[in-house]
Point group: D2
Chain length 342, copies 4
Amino acid sequence: MATRVAVAGASGYAGGEVLRLLLGHPGVEIGALTANSSAGRRLGELQPHLLPLADRVLEPTTTEVLTGHDVVFLALPHGQSAAVAEELGEEVLVIDCGADFRLREAAAWERFYGTPHAGTWPYGLPELPGARDALRGARRIAVPGCYPTAVSLALAPAHAAGLVEPEAVIVAASGTSGGGKALKPHLLGSEVMGSMSPYGVGGVHRHTPEIVQNLSAAAGEPVTVSFTPTLAPMPRGILATCTAKARPGVTADALRETYEKATAGEPYYHLLPEGRWPSTAAVLGSNAVQLQTALDEDAGRVLVIAAVDNLTKGTAGGAVQSMNIALGLPEETGLSAVGIAP
Amino acid sequence: MATRVAVAGASGYAGGEVLRLLLGHPGVEIGALTANSSAGRRLGELQPHLLPLADRVLEPTTTEVLTGHDVVFLALPHGQSAAVAEELGEEVLVIDCGADFRLREAAAWERFYGTPHAGTWPYGLPELPGARDALRGARRIAVPGCYPTAVSLALAPAHAAGLVEPEAVIVAASGTSGGGKALKPHLLGSEVMGSMSPYGVGGVHRHTPEIVQNLSAAAGEPVTVSFTPTLAPMPRGILATCTAKARPGVTADALRETYEKATAGEPYYHLLPEGRWPSTAAVLGSNAVQLQTALDEDAGRVLVIAAVDNLTKGTAGGAVQSMNIALGLPEETGLSAVGIAP
Amino acid sequence: MATRVAVAGASGYAGGEVLRLLLGHPGVEIGALTANSSAGRRLGELQPHLLPLADRVLEPTTTEVLTGHDVVFLALPHGQSAAVAEELGEEVLVIDCGADFRLREAAAWERFYGTPHAGTWPYGLPELPGARDALRGARRIAVPGCYPTAVSLALAPAHAAGLVEPEAVIVAASGTSGGGKALKPHLLGSEVMGSMSPYGVGGVHRHTPEIVQNLSAAAGEPVTVSFTPTLAPMPRGILATCTAKARPGVTADALRETYEKATAGEPYYHLLPEGRWPSTAAVLGSNAVQLQTALDEDAGRVLVIAAVDNLTKGTAGGAVQSMNIALGLPEETGLSAVGIAP
Amino acid sequence: MATRVAVAGASGYAGGEVLRLLLGHPGVEIGALTANSSAGRRLGELQPHLLPLADRVLEPTTTEVLTGHDVVFLALPHGQSAAVAEELGEEVLVIDCGADFRLREAAAWERFYGTPHAGTWPYGLPELPGARDALRGARRIAVPGCYPTAVSLALAPAHAAGLVEPEAVIVAASGTSGGGKALKPHLLGSEVMGSMSPYGVGGVHRHTPEIVQNLSAAAGEPVTVSFTPTLAPMPRGILATCTAKARPGVTADALRETYEKATAGEPYYHLLPEGRWPSTAAVLGSNAVQLQTALDEDAGRVLVIAAVDNLTKGTAGGAVQSMNIALGLPEETGLSAVGIAP
């Protein structure tokens, strides 16, 4: 019998991408689709690319509407997931694409979000050590942020292997869909096309504590993180340039071997052959993360560059991958490592 | 047993898109991949989005290499398909993504291509009246051009129903992948980003006679066509704005009904609800064509606007769809009506 | 003594472009800058490219603030110009970048705008026959719409010379700045990048009656116009593909000669050499309109393609050019025919 | 009497931008325009935005052609400038937009370029301490690289003031025109649109030693530099995110004051008000560099972000600014701090 799935927040970019993937997932049946201000409208008006669901009417995001599904994806603004999840039974698999349950430390949450901490759920980044096991059978999953997905998969192996000092300097470029569908002047096409600009500079971006958490866990000691996100003139994709000070004696070969081991057997975590570099185009619409490493001996730094699609592996793909693991389905069901290029 | 498929011209955009779709097609096994100047290189260097095939080595495009497959896709420069096809057995399904076998009239071919006409194969646009039947069991298929796909599906119903005079004025915008991967100055990113420009103006574009052929067949009389292609700053997609003079008495309702009938039951041929217009973003990577119609009473003209992905429905998707029909597989196998947006 | 200039609506794209040009105009002094909801903010927050004016504070759009200038540019939402202009003295040069005073026929205004007609001012498209004379000494000027600028300069000569039937089919692609800075979902970067889409299809776009007016004046008889605007993934630029049925006996040479005459001696109205086609990139930020013509003998149609920058020649450049003429300054002061490319 | 200027390499992007600026420079007369493979063609075919020079015929780059000018701009491939400059008289002002004369240390040149070092010319970045004086009356000028322009202006003040340790981690995004007009597959529009990708990772980009030279000069001690360039989907612009470890006790106020002093009185070197961040759109086509600073106390790092137009301030604008200084003209002649936005 098909798994019955609801999506709360189906009008936004994250919810739309969850639905795009579910439409290609053979084991699920798409149930209720909910929204807030768009409730009552047809999905086709808001997500014209989801043709098979065009006539579906968006319902309000209520417990009543969401009850009766095996899986509920939450793609809601930060701070709204806890209340919804609480009303759903413990046997329901709730997968939160928002930030509410990602952080382990309440203090970090409160500092960056300014509200009480809701809790911590198993973390939907299966490629991190131990994460896949924690997801099996889970009924609550916190999907990582898009930047933390790229950055953690880029640097965690180097930190875990002790190749680098406990610090990281990260500059990442994201497509505009990372900013969501909200009507903000700086997200207008006229403003973003032909332009690169930074935002959340100086450690204030809300993904910073999540990156710190993941890299510190990998390193086994606190890692300081300088993280600068930039907005790039493209709808999708993250390119994360991640560097850390190399520990004495580290070689390019040792670096490469570390990443070969980390990615071995992984369906979506891919170290490129030497001489080739990731691009966001190559992972568009796919669940793959493409990586390459370098050792800059003059600067004494390790570099790892990662490309992901912020909406797929960075959000909805990671969510579906985690769902598959939680439900005991083959992990790759409904997902692809193949990008849409050019 | 899986159908064994070869792709000749696997290094280009059309060949790459055929492979992207075949990677998601459950009934095929991907055999030989060939190229010309890139023979000997690994596919991963040229098509970094096709991760599962990254280590495949491109072979030269020879009869020897292509022999032994059930299906051979040809994604070669114009004029090269006949020689290759001749050497392949009659039982092999040969699907030509090039122009060589699209035109019925030798004179039209010779005028626009300047070489002897190679012949005419069943035409891979199943949505045209009669086309699907001609494809069943076929062993040679000519895949339509990307512009003719969009334009013919836009205007053929109006001509067939006698709603319009036997003339058409068409302006279409295409993404740059329509120009292929050849290194031409006007296709450089620095030149195309932020810019719209026309090309092949005045009826000289090689897709013109194919459009004339399709619309004339639909109308049952010769249709004169003014076709202007333009290059848009996007990698993929065609938006075709198609107009023709309305015959007296035509109403918007009659127009809409005509298209409702033409698209009824079709998996990829989609008339949008009133009030919504096609966009290329909504069909990115999908096999869908999205349509909308209008009657401009002041101007006395019918308008039909179509959006397709030039590489998917406009080339590789149409090719795979035709393959499915020819082989007796379910027509939608390995194809999707869902686009990648935003 | 410098001409003292105010700009009402300085926070928007049209107002910003007027200011960009005025900053390079040696004969003017920039006075009051006004806005509606942004009054009280510094210009640097809203127009970060206008560095020399970054600290200017936007004032409310009131008669009091605007009084005391020699020239007032109005870049206001449609329908607001009449009330403002009325309060300014007759000796003040008022240049309206909005639509209010463009149309001659009240019925056309009312049909497309749904409000009472405010009147008709001298039309700021100096390249049209007679227009330059009407602008000399004028104290009220209606700046043409961006599409009508491109389309009228493309087709008026052919209609005036009787080369074509009194009909026109026009498809134009515009950058997103044509849609203004208003926060509309379809103007988000995530929606427009990588996408082409039509809007205002079927003769309902408000620039249609203005095009009809200009072409009919040129033809000396009513011209029917099919006009389809499309939104292109670029911030600026209009590419207008304009066609009309050729009258019997028209030759390509006659067509070219007509445009050589029409553009002779014009500083910004430029017919390209044969074999070259306009692109919006080549006119970015410039006041030039680049044109090329073709005769499609098979289709029996004349084609004229025009490229303009919608904000420069299509709005603010045309406005400054008209100001120069009205004030008796050299017409090219502060303007350039040189684009910013690539 | 007008200064007579020649441009060698007028067919490329750097040469085209030099010409764009010279066309707006009141004190110069544009003389010979030369090219290599494009010699004999009209400029209009290659630089369609430079309308006033469209009929100029490109001549071969020979001493004969270049002799007889007061100023010669060289926009040639690396390694060709020395031979050309040698043949021009010492009284001729030769301004090299290439790399040949930028580096002071022969060893650095040889390591990164693999050819013998041609020498060192006065460095055309007037905003660096001492640089303006060295340019006055100079007859040979080395224009900085585009990345070193942005990065040096971003970090030199912090290093000079001792606010940071002698190290820097820099990630910069550049528009594709930085890669020139050469026909390379990765610069095709189909490849770059919608994509971010790194290149020259690990300290191998040729601008690295130039950055090291400038920052070390500012710091008064050797600075180690980790520099990662990335290619962004836009034609122009560089956004450089530059960080260095803060020295103990550094405050955000001290940091800001340092930059206020460094930029005081400078026409193009601009520190934005607090709370606003640079964007490449805001400097498009302008000679401005826009900066903002931050102190990340958690990470213990200073951040300075700079936006420039790689072709204007990053190449041709810096060249013209340096020319003005060398010739004793007002430094701002023919240049603007106003960008073209949106």
